[in-house]
Symmetry: C2
Subunit: 221 residues, 2 copies
């Protein structure tokens, strides 16, 4: 089972929808169990075949083997301090790109002392297997099941089997491709692509994603 903590927001709902459509059982987590159930109901209306539940974050985390962090960056630290026990030994997928918006300047990256949201999560959860992924995928497009996704999902982790597991999940979403982007130290660069894409979106009036060109093979070695 896959949990999406803070999954009532656009990124969490979109990812949960796509992975439920791919046959995964998903649970939407929220601070408010009622809101979580409402989000789960709205997903079930979009995708009647989906197996989707709603629960309070701690219960969602406890039920799942793979837990996605889809809260705003400001919510990451309090959430992880609260749920350290429930997340022990689990694969935790950090989808968060720390960003701020300023009128006239657009989106910019928020500096994180440890380097990136994903590295901070790994520091807060030393007994979990943190994987960074999905930051550069448009939440708007994820939420619309009529849209075929396009582009790459860069996946970083210091835990190789956990990275492989999440790369396998990416393949389940039609037309998305996972790219092994190395260790968690690279997550900073991946997270900072997100404000760049947000600013490009505004210039071109699109929902941009990225693709790495030149990959013709599986990762070497």
């Amino acid at each position: 089972m896959l949990a999406f903590l803070g999954g009532t927001g656009p990124e969490g709902k979109g990812l949960a929808l796509r992975l439920a459509l791919a046959g995964e059982v998903v649970v939407i987590g929220s601070r408010d169990a009622q809101r979580a159930r409402e989000a789960a109901d709205s997903l079930a209306r979009l995708a009647p075949s989906a197996r989707v539940q709603g629960a309070e974050n701690a219960q969602a985390a406890a039920r799942a083997e793979i837990v996605f962090l889809t809260v705003p960056y400001e919510g990451q630290r309090p959430l992880l301090e609260l749920l350290r026990e429930q997340l022990r030994g689990k694969v935790v997928v950090d989808v968060i790109a720390p960003m701020r918006f300023e009128r006239g300047r657009g989106a910019s990256a928020v500096e994180v002392a440890t380097g990136s949201a994903a590295q901070e999560a790994q520091e807060l959860l030393p007994d979990s297997l943190v994987v960074s992924a999905f930051q550069n995928v448009s939440a708007e497009e994820l939420q619309n099941p009529e849209v075929t996704m396009e582009g790459d999902v860069l996946v970083c982790s210091d835990h190789r089997p956990a990275k492989g597991l999440i790369m396998g999940l990416v393949w389940k979403i039609p037309n998305l491709r996972p790219v092994d982007a190395g260790g968690l130290a690279n997550s900073k660069y991946v997270e900072q692509i997100t404000p760049l894409l947000v600013n490009i979106n505004r210039i071109y009036k699109i929902h941009a994603g990225i693709k790495i060109v030149g990959i013709t093979t599986e990762p070497a070695g």
Copy 2:
């Protein structure tokens, strides 16, 4: 005429080659005029139709209307402090991605106090029109005229006409596409994609580039 300061290195030589092949007159700049002429000769052997000269950096800068910075990041500040006069009123294209390499960790971005190499160049050259571009294009592939380039060149500047001029130059290199990536504040994210690509290169044994997916139109407004 296009000048490439520090153009005896792989990125400068590669870009000069591609733009010379596209019909531009280029001058390779170096601290050492003799080395610059040797680099120019080696380009002329690769591309006999190319109009290419070599000169000491200051002379190269003085001759050209558009000046590319292709020195290592450590060389940027002393170079620009030296050539402020020659670069006044000109379009200065910053190709530099500040990076370091560490054994076992791979490539990582070097922090720049002003945010990015390109912002630092603009601060050092208040009377020049700084444009950031070409950081994510493989120097190895640029240098081999047999290889058709692939991918996007993200172009950032606070000077709209200068940005348009450089986007036009990108179109002259077959199969590369310029993407308007907004103001110079976005250059940080573009520069930091380079160490990410270097690390992906090592994982896949490729020369990676990037492409923005979802662009079907010219920039809006």
